[in-house]
């Protein structure tokens, strides 16, 4: 008798000699299983700990009346430039803003955001085990402890520039937004569907460069909607300020709820 095995559909069987179970099921030394191994059912989601911390973050933010937005993008899409513009806007309309700035090593982005009337909490993820490529909920909890939440209306979480990992981690924000610049190509939604599926709003940035590029915006839009039919797209140029009114209106509405 070989190794006992249970499938997703609940069926169970033993692996006899020569049983080909396909890729991803290296059954190892069958004799060891035969003699002295027992199976312990666990059924625990790997993200449970992060998700519990995210729920705690949301409860803390709710308690302080703060709306948090998780802002994600690839590196160089223009998140920080957009944030500078956004903080200027929020100051103008009297909404008190905080920023959690995720950066692997430097304080360059956080430095760009100082002097704009916002509280900024920098999280260098490079101190972590291996240098994290994303923010997770326990990290954001540490950043929240450095902010005076009672003095805030809105918290913008600038995630680490990366289209893969940040999509997987709930940090405790209320809304998820991404910045996608038109220099990145039309195929990005198809290559990173998990990210594009995870957000409700896509800010299509660097529209001022459109005359210089061969990008097909209709194709980009179709690609976004094919992986996320509910996504809203807003074309902006963080550099010139064109189109930012719609983003600012969206944000003001979300914050004033």
């Amino acid at each position: 008798m070989g190794r006992f095995h249970r499938h997703d559909d609940g069926t169970e069987h033993d692996h006899g000699p020569g049983h080909d179970h396909g890729r991803g099921h290296d059954v190892g030394d069958l004799t060891a299983y035969e003699t002295g191994t027992e199976r312990v059912v666990v059924l625990e989601r790997i993200f449970d700990e992060n998700d519990r911390a995210a729920a705690d973050n949301r409860a803390v933010l709710d308690g302080a009346g703060v709306t948090a937005v998780n802002l994600m993008s690839s590196p160089g899409a223009g998140k920080t430039t957009l944030l500078v513009r956004t903080l200027e806007h929020l100051r103008e309309v009297g909404l008190r803003a905080g920023v959690v700035e995720g950066d692997i090593e430097t304080s360059i982005d956080a430095d760009r955001l100082t002097g704009l009337g916002a509280q900024v909490s920098l999280l260098n993820t490079g101190d972590g085990f291996g240098g994290e490529c994303h923010l997770d909920a326990p990290m954001v909890a540490r950043a929240l402890a450095h902010l005076d939440l009672a003095a805030l209306d809105v918290l913008l979480v600038e995630n680490v520039g990366n289209l893969v990992c940040p999509a997987e981690f709930d940090v405790g924000a209320h809304r998820r937004v991404m910045v996608a610049s038109i220099t990145e190509g039309e195929d990005k939604p198809l290559k990173y569907p998990v990210m594009f599926r995870s957000v409700e709003l896509v800010l299509v940035n660097k529209m001022d460069l459109l005359p210089h590029l061969d990008v097909d915006l209709d194709l980009f839009r179709r690609n976004v909607l094919s992986v996320n039919p509910d996504a809203e797209l807003v074309e902006v140029s963080a550099r010139t300020g064109d189109g930012l009114d719609r983003w600012h209106d969206w944000l003001d509405t979300v914050v004033r709820g």
Partner: protein, 114 residues
Amino acid sequence: MHELSLCRSIHDIVDRARDGRRVRAVNLQVGQLRQVVPDTLTYCWGLVCAEGPLAGSELVVDHVPVVLDCRDCGERTTAAHVLVLTCASCGSGAVDLRSGEELLVTSLDVVKEH
């Protein structure tokens, strides 16, 4: 790219669940929509477990396909590709995801105490 983080989480879950017993294998379910590279996961597992009580244990990954329920024709189908989340029967994009986002430790194979 976040396989190291995942392995640390898996390590904590397993270390709690093993209750002092020696672990031979850790059985996972990973949905196809999860962005996990199996070889990287295995490599990181070795790093995370090195010289600890879980050293030498094996990660066994069960890949769970993307299954969709169509709101238009009612069929339940398996997605041909993770980038094409449409009904394999009628082509409708109005689908509800039934599986493919799993990421869990299902069980441990531990050495029996005598």
